[in-house]
């Protein structure tokens, strides 16, 4: 029996039929899109939807007559979609980081586009951002949210088919997005490049995700909703709102990929950066704080330092972030007071951000020997440190006069990667190294030494990357604002480009180290499932020390 048999065998025949109908409907939508768009590049995406849904439909159809499941489902958690989500997250991590290294290398050596249209910088760059943010981050968030909500609610997921619809439907969206960029399909909105039909599909998937999460919470046996769930719920709700408002657009026809946004000019810019910055806040922060508030205490076997502080920082983040987006539009046509508003809230954000980072580090206070010995816990500790550093940097860069120097330079890129590599990716790897042995019921990870290798590759890669971008960004900013005695610019743009060359090489090298770390992580997880013996008790791979009160 292979994994597909086992996973489909856990569905009743009624559920298999329901899943088959969902596949059929998706395939039909794909066929309709393909027919309507047969004269446009969107026809390929119709075909992709048809093949994707048809493939899963085939898997189900050949297994419709399998025996009904006999287990008592209420007595166990539903872990199959979580396992699939982890595999998908790691696969996207390798893809997305590889694309990142490739585009970074193109900046140093432009010949690496090999004279193809599809492999030029403009098309590859969004495959990197979508691959790592939505492919890697999104799948990790879906998987860990399914795990955390069940464990903290003491209830099984409220559905057998819907978790699969959410996970696989979400991955179909990622595939449509990434293949679209290579084909030249984009609506040119940062972190929202996918076109109208993919956006509509994501709305359906995301609303299902929200309903599933709420219904699971409604089933809870534990009266109090643990704070990690609040963060995951804020992530799901706000991303739904952001996605819908920012992608309000009219396609030029049902059979054409191109659409036009309904917001004109500066309003469009404001809506886009309200979306863009809140995507950082609620996609790349809130959900990952959910991971931090669950996996860090569990791994350290210590309760969070202050639960009250976690509540205060939750509401602080939720309310302040909403207003910060306009700091992306300093010195533009946006009204001055709106820029000032964004700047003020960005500075205020430092309070709840540092409250979370401090709460995490104080939880570990008194268990530093465990941080020293356990690379998994160290991943999470380093993530909290980078979270504190990059939120400080973010508040600083949002101040208008500072932004005058940093905007449009590599400093911004360095800041984003301090957050994305140092915070988001490190907390994810720490969480996954905690989760994988628990979920597959293994005694431990295959190799603690390889976790250690992954940790140091990640740290070295992040530091090289961020220091290279700080240097190049500040040099760029200074060169662009240096005037001669006659009041002319002292350097041409090309002069600043030549000065960047060594930093671009260093950046690509830092990214390469980070990518190698992720590949090592994939191998270690694969071997854990393959070669590590089953844990006799389910408490395997947890420190044996008893819980110590933290406050």
């Amino acid at each position: 029996m292979n994994a597909t048999d086992r996973m489909i065998g856990r569905l009743t025949s009624g559920e298999r039929q329901a899943a088959l109908i969902l596949c059929g409907l998706t395939a039909l939508s794909g066929a309709a899109l393909g027919l309507a768009g047969r004269n446009d590049v969107v026809g390929w995406h119709g075909l992709l939807m048809l093949l994707f849904a048809g493939g899963f439909g085939f898997l189900l159809m050949t297994r419709l007559d399998m025996a009904e499941p006999t287990e008592d489902r209420g007595a166990s958690y539903y872990d199959d979609p979580i396992k699939a989500g982890i595999v998908l997250a790691m696969a996207w991590a390798v893809f997305g980081m590889f694309m990142g290294v490739w585009v970074a290398a193109q900046l140093a050596w432009p010949d690496l586009h090999f004279d193809n249209g599809w492999s030029t910088f403009g098309r590859l760059r969004p495959t990197h951002t979508t691959g790592v943010i939505f492919g890697f981050g999104g799948n990790a968030l879906i998987a860990t949210s399914f795990h955390v909500v069940q464990r903290t609610s003491r209830a099984r997921l409220a559905g057998q088919v819907s978790p699969w619809f959410v996970l696989l439907g979400y991955n179909l969206f990622c595939l449509l997005a990434v293949t679209g960029y290579l084909l030249g399909i984009t609506q040119s909105k940062e972190y929202a490049e996918a076109e109208w039909y993919a956006d509509l599909w994501l709305v359906v998937v995301w609303v299902t995700y929200f309903v599933l999460y709420l219904r699971t919470i409604a089933r809870r046996r534990e009266p109090h909703i643990y704070v990690a769930n609040w963060y995951f719920m804020a992530f799901i709700v706000v991303v739904a709102i952001l996605h819908i408002v920012n992608n309000l657009a009219l396609p030029i026809s049902w059979g054409h990929a191109k659409s036009y946004t309904i917001w004109p000019g500066v309003q469009d810019a404001m809506v886009q950066w309200w979306y863009g910055h809140n995507a950082v806040a609620f996609f790349l922060t809130a959900g990952f704080l959910g991971m931090l508030y669950y996996y860090l205490p569990v791994r350290a076997q210590r309760p969070i330092f202050s639960y009250r502080l976690s509540i205060l920082s939750f509401w602080g983040i939720t309310f302040f972030y909403m207003w910060a987006g306009s700091h992306h539009l300093h010195y533009t046509a946006l009204p001055h007071w709106v820029q000032t508003l964004g700047m003020t809230f960005s500075v205020m954000l430092l309070v709840p951000s540092w409250a979370s980072a401090g709460n995490a580090l104080l939880t570990l206070n008194g268990a530093w020997h465990r941080v020293r010995d356990d690379a998994t816990l160290r991943f999470m500790m380093a993530a909290a440190v980078f979270y504190g550093l990059s939120t400080f940097e973010g508040s600083f860069l949002a101040i208008r006069p500072v932004n005058a120097l940093s905007h449009y330079t590599d400093w911004t890129v360095g800041h984003v990667h301090a957050g994305a590599l140092g915070w988001v990716a490190l907390i994810t790897f720490g969480s996954l190294y905690t989760l994988v042995p628990t979920l597959w019921k293994r005694e431990r990870m295959y190799s603690a030494a390889l976790v250690e290798v992954h940790f140091w590759l990640s740290i070295a890669g992040t530091l090289i990357y961020v220091f290279a971008m700080w240097n190049s960004g500040i040099i760029q900013g200074l060169m662009w604002r240096t005037y001669t005695e006659d009041g002319a610019l002292a350097y041409s743009f090309v002069d600043s480009l030549v000065a960047m060359y060594p930093y671009y090489i260093a950046r690509a090298f830092g990214g390469l180290l980070f990518l190698i770390g992720a590949v090592v992580g994939c191998y270690n997880m694969w071997m854990t499932v393959r070669a590590v013996p089953q844990a006799t008790s389910r408490t395997g791979d947890q420190p044996v020390a008893a819980a110590v009160p933290g406050e």
């Binding site: 958690y77 209830a155 046996r221 109090h224 639960y307 309310f319 819980a547």
Partner: protein, 57 residues
Amino acid sequence: MFDISHETLVAFSKSWGLFYLMGFFLCVVVYAFWPSNRKRFDRAKTSILERDDKPWQ
């Protein structure tokens, strides 16, 4: 339809926008520090460390 000018809207958001944020912040602080909630929060933060891995029925 009401005729709301730009100035009216800005004046409204600059006054009430601030008040409701502060009001909301006060509510959250009261909730977080309300004495009878202490027990619930203490239980919540240790509850995730319990070892059984089964739903409660």
